[in-house]
């Protein structure tokens, strides 16, 4: 099937198998490897991207379902050489260690701040509860998102 997906503001066209998962479309067809795979079962959230602005686990979405829609990945966060506030927050507050869950975690955090500019700690913990992290114990991820929430959105 021919599809056209608007990825980080750029239309990307490809002829794909109907069963191709969105995460494999992003990683293997578009060669954008910032979006990771941790489980294939919608449990870990490493593959979280924004589909029309909403976070989805791209291991559980077919690429064809993204046809004609907007997808935003971690590669789309930095604008004009400047890190997004969510990226800077993770850097300043040591919200990442091995970096594997980080892209998905940041996409969830980015989406949270769009919808709730001043989240409480409980709001943040609820929002990221679908994203597993094995390294940080979440303490500094919460602080990272709080840090970002105190900066203006780009």
């Amino acid at each position: 099937m021919k599809i056209s997906v608007n990825v980080n503001g750029t239309p990307r066209e490809a002829d794909v198998e109907p069963r191709l998962l969105l995460v494999h479309f992003i990683r293997e067809v578009l060669n954008m490897t910032g979006t990771h795979i941790g489980c294939d079962t919608t449990s870990c959230g490493a593959c979280t991207v924004l589909l029309d602005g909403r976070p989805v686990k791209s291991c559980t979405v077919f690429a064809v379902m993204a046809n004609g829609r907007d997808v935003m990945t971690v590669e789309g966060l930095e604008k004009d050489g400047k890190l997004d506030r969510i990226q800077d927050g993770f850097h300043q507050e040591h919200g990442l260690q091995c970096g594997f869950c980080t892209p998905g975690m940041m996409m969830t955090g980015y989406s949270l701040l769009k919808n709730n500019p001043s989240p409480s700690e409980a709001d943040i913990r609820w929002a990221i509860s679908g994203n597993l992290c094995r390294c940080t114990g979440y303490v500094n991820i919460v602080k990272s998102i709080q840090h970002a929430s105190q900066k203006p959105a780009q």
């Binding site: 198998e17 069963r19 191709l20 494999h24 990683r27 293997e28 060669n31 954008m32 490897t33 910032g34 979006t35 990771h36 795979i37 941790g38 489980c39 294939d40 079962t41 449990s43 870990c44 490493a46 990945t73 971690v74 590669e75 966060l77 930095e78 890190l83 990226q87 993770f90 850097h91 300043q92 040591h94 990442l96 260690q97 091995c98 970096g99 594997f100 869950c101 980080t102 892209p103 940041m106 700690e121 943040i124 913990r125 609820w126 990221i128 509860s129 679908g130 994203n131 597993l132 992290c133 094995r134 390294c135 940080t136 114990g137 979440y138 303490v139 500094n140 991820i141 919460v142």
Partner: protein
């Protein structure tokens, strides 16, 4: 410790932001699955649905008929090259692919090679395997009974499932002590099988270049150099020679011990690449990861303590059955089949102790890797810390007071334990005092008494653990004969910038930052100008890798020693440039100056430039050094954790209200990174304490083989950890550091379990095996008649 260097230099004690973040934040990290080579093929694995079965036939015809499927690799094919079995790290044997029978559910049976990931998966579905089920043994006690089916009938002459017996300590002296003791306590404690479940699973890309015979493997490994040597030893007979093997451990998405062993999938991918000449990628999916690799623990401990009525501890005795699955593929130093389990006397001054372990084969996947700890240390710490609590409660003493009474005193260090370890330094009372103060211990005990009077269940649990990390001195510690040193190769460039390469491999610990800070501390070169590389066996010096919290204790020490060698040469050059003798120079981070006239000085940058442009005649040019560091001893970090829980009598749910962790890891290189390590370690202590467990039913079917069933804690369950520090430097480490990545995982489970039991001791509850789940607690509440 106040930093000795300026923030611009960024040596020890500075919370320098991490250098590696730049790529991770942009999605530009390079993990194994991100490697994509021209003509790369994909490998997927057929796995056994049975825990024990004969393989009657494997029919690959339907799979081979699928367009894009190129080959199906079977045990019979590997047997032609004598590659169907491989040695484990403990010198046992493990099947790469089976010829006769399978020994656990999820075991590799055949592998499909195809042009795409999806076609490979189609091929796996189409391979038809006929099995004949055999009797299954999942209980290690039953496995050790006479008459049990002999699982390893591949081993000539084997008549039972007993792998080894190991013991340490003074058996007779301990028995005498128990016989004469005023008080003894005894408890069965089980630490179930768990899986490290790093968010990145295991995998590799193997590329055998037929032109020059060179094999390059990008691999999720914590120990690339040892892997290269293992490959050369195991596959030398098929032409793999060590200079033509390059292992690259790229960015690793969490290791926690799970990426130490060699798994069959790696070997099959290498074999497939050697046979085809094409690059081959194999990436485990999550269910494969949870059902076939990275298992830890499975220790059944019968623990006993003896002591006096006044609370003095005298003797310790542990008898243990270890379930290793179908092969002993544990990752331990070779002389220690039960790892460092004999750290079991912990923080207490026992007179005598004895410990024994019997290991059994069962129809489970190989177990025995360390779940974020040095070789069976969590098993030991959990048992001793549970037992100390039981002993205190039996005597109606406060568990904090009983600990204080029995701690090894600060002036007793270096302390020789009954098992022969020499603890380097410690101040256990200081850590517990600080933890009590931070959490408000006395007030909490008052609150608990009031709540108990009202029928509410609240508990306070302590764990005052002693860790043992940094393996290890070459006299005692090796893996497959390779001594457990580690290394640094340091080069200073003419402009005074540096590159440092290490034999370890970060999996998130932040080595690129921490190691740079060590070089900065020793040479005064700003850490931002020290590039750190590791993980590529073609460029990095040989080392045993990153696990057992050994990076800072061993490789970090190598970095400091290499830098000191550089400094020694720099001093000679400075003396030459300043026309004074070496003894007339003072060093401060970044420069040498003449004693008495500090304005006459040379910076390390000026000296580096001179090393290449104006070096003294008769001296070699250049400024570089290598150090292979063989630690004189292990290091012994410690801490005291206090946990407060409230139990819901309606549901059995345990709510962690507060958790204070006081850690002492000696001198700290980067406080921000250390805190991050402790947060993560605590969460991997919480996980097995309350959520994670891999069980098997009587037929050997895994219970918990997906992240729906295997409950890795989310942000909702994880408490807001509170951390604090004391600082007792290691006297033998060049930087006074000790290692910290695993302390919290080792110490936390006992604090949580002790808190839950403390909440219910008055109801007659003595012990609950972890994970302490709501159904377990609810059942107890029902039995005790207090459920609501």
């Amino acid at each position: 410790m106040e930093p000795r260097t300026s923030p611009e230099i960024g040596g020890m004690g500075h919370s320098m932001k991490r250098k590696e973040d730049a790529r991770f934040l942009r999605g530009q990290g390079k993990y194994v699955d991100d490697v994509k080579l021209p003509g790369m093929l994909y490998l997927d694995i057929v796995r056994s649905p049975y825990a024990h079965a004969k393989i009657k036939s494997i029919d690959t015809s339907k799979a081979m008929a699928i367009p894009g499927v190129l080959a199906v690799v079977t045990g019979e094919l590997l047997k032609q090259y004598n590659l169907h079995w491989m040695p484990t790290l403990m010198s046992d044997t493990q099947m790469v692919l089976p010829v006769e029978k399978v020994m656990h559910q999820g075991q590799e049976v055949a592998a499909v090679l195809a042009t795409t990931r999806y076609i490979a998966a189609d091929g796996v579905q189409a391979v038809e395997v006929e099995y004949e089920p055999l009797p299954v043994v999942v209980d290690p006690f039953k496995a050790l009974e006479p008459g049990a089916p002999v699982l390893r009938d591949d081993k000539p002459g084997r008549t039972d499932n007993h792998i080894w017996h190991w013991e340490a300590g003074d058996k007779a002296g301990t028995e005498k002590c128990f016989n004469e003791a005023e008080v003894t306590v005894k408890q069965d404690i089980y630490l179930p099988r768990i899986n490290v479940a790093s968010i990145e699973t295991c995998g590799c890309v193997a590329h055998f270049d037929k032109t020059d015979g060179k094999l390059t493997v990008w691999m999720t490994t914590q120990a690339p150099h040892a892997i290269r040597t293992v490959f050369a030893l195991v596959a030398g007979h098929v032409g793999l020679s060590e200079e033509k093997i390059r292992i690259i451990s790229p960015d690793i998405g969490g290791g926690f011990g799970g990426k130490v062993p060699v798994y069959p999938g790696y070997v099959i991918a290498v074999a497939a690449s050697v046979l085809t000449g094409a690059p081959v990628k194999w990436i485990e999916d999550r269910m494969e990861n949870l059902s076939a690799a990275s298992f830890a623990r499975d220790y059944h401990i019968t623990a006993e303590l003896a002591g006096k009525k006044d609370g003095t501890l005298q003797a310790l005795r542990f008898k243990t059955v270890a379930d290793h699955g179908y092969t002993d593929a544990a990752a331990n130093p070779s002389k220690f089949p039960a790892g460092l389990f004999h750290i079991a006397t912990g923080s207490y001054d026992f007179k005598s102790a004895f410990i024994e372990v019997d290991a059994a084969y069962t129809n489970k996947p190989p177990g025995g890797i360390a779940y974020r700890c040095s070789f069976r240390v969590t098993e030991a710490v959990h048992a001793i810390e549970r037992m100390v609590d039981i002993f205190a409660h039996e005597l109606k003493m406060d568990p904090a007071d009983l600990r204080q009474k029995n701690f090894i005193k600060p002036e007793a260090f270096p302390y020789k334990s009954p098992f022969g370890f020499e603890y380097d330094s410690g101040n256990y009372a200081g850590a517990l005092d600080l933890a009590k103060k931070r959490i408000g211990y006395d007030e909490l005990r008052k609150e608990q008494a009031e709540k108990r009077a009202r029928g509410e269940l609240m508990g306070i649990g302590i764990s005052s653990f002693t860790e043992i990390v940094g393996a290890g001195p070459s006299k005692h510690y090796d893996i497959l004969g390779i001594k457990m040193f580690d290394s640094c190769e340091l080069r200073i460039h003419p402009t005074g910038k540096a590159i440092a390469r290490f034999g370890t491999k970060s999996q998130g610990q932040g080595h690129e930052t921490t190691y740079a800070q060590i070089i900065a501390e020793e040479l005064g070169i700003p850490a931002e100008h020290v590039a750190v590389e590791e993980g590529d066996t073609d460029t990095a010096p040989y080392g045993l890798g990153t696990y057992a919290s050994r990076s800072t204790p061993v490789a970090g020490a190598a970095g400091a020693m290499a830098a000191r060698k550089v400094r020694d040469k720099a001093r000679k050059i400075a003396a030459y440039l300043l026309e004074v003798s070496e003894e007339d120079l003072d060093w401060e981070p970044g420069k040498f100056s003449v004693k008495g006239s500090p304005s006459k000085s040379k910076t390390i940058q000026e000296i580096a430039f001179a090393a290449y442009t104006n070096h003294p005649q008769g001296m070699e040019a250049g400024l570089e050094a290598v150090n292979y560091y063989d630690p004189p001893n292990l290091t012994f970090p410690f801490g005291s954790y206090i946990c407060v829980v409230d139990i819901d009598k309606g549901t059995g749910q345990v709510k962690i209200r507060r958790f204070v962790a006081v850690d002492d890891c000696g001198n700290i290189i980067n406080p921000m990174i250390v805190d991050g390590q402790i947060h993560g370690g605590l969460t991997m202590g919480l996980a097995p304490a309350m959520y994670e467990e891999i069980n098997y039913d009587a037929d050997g079917n895994i219970q918990g083989g997906s992240l729906m069933d295997y409950l890795v804690p989310t942000s909702m369950e994880t408490p807001a950890w509170e951390t604090d520090k004391t600082c007792t430097p290691s006297p033998h480490h060049p930087l006074g550091a000790k290692g910290v990545g695993e302390s919290a995982t080792v110490g936390a489970p006992a604090a949580i379990a002790n808190a839950v039991v403390d909440a219910m001791w008055h109801l007659g509850v003595r012990h609950i095996d972890i994970p302490i789940t709501p159904p377990k607690v609810w059942k107890i509440l029902m039995e005790k008649g207090v459920a609501e």
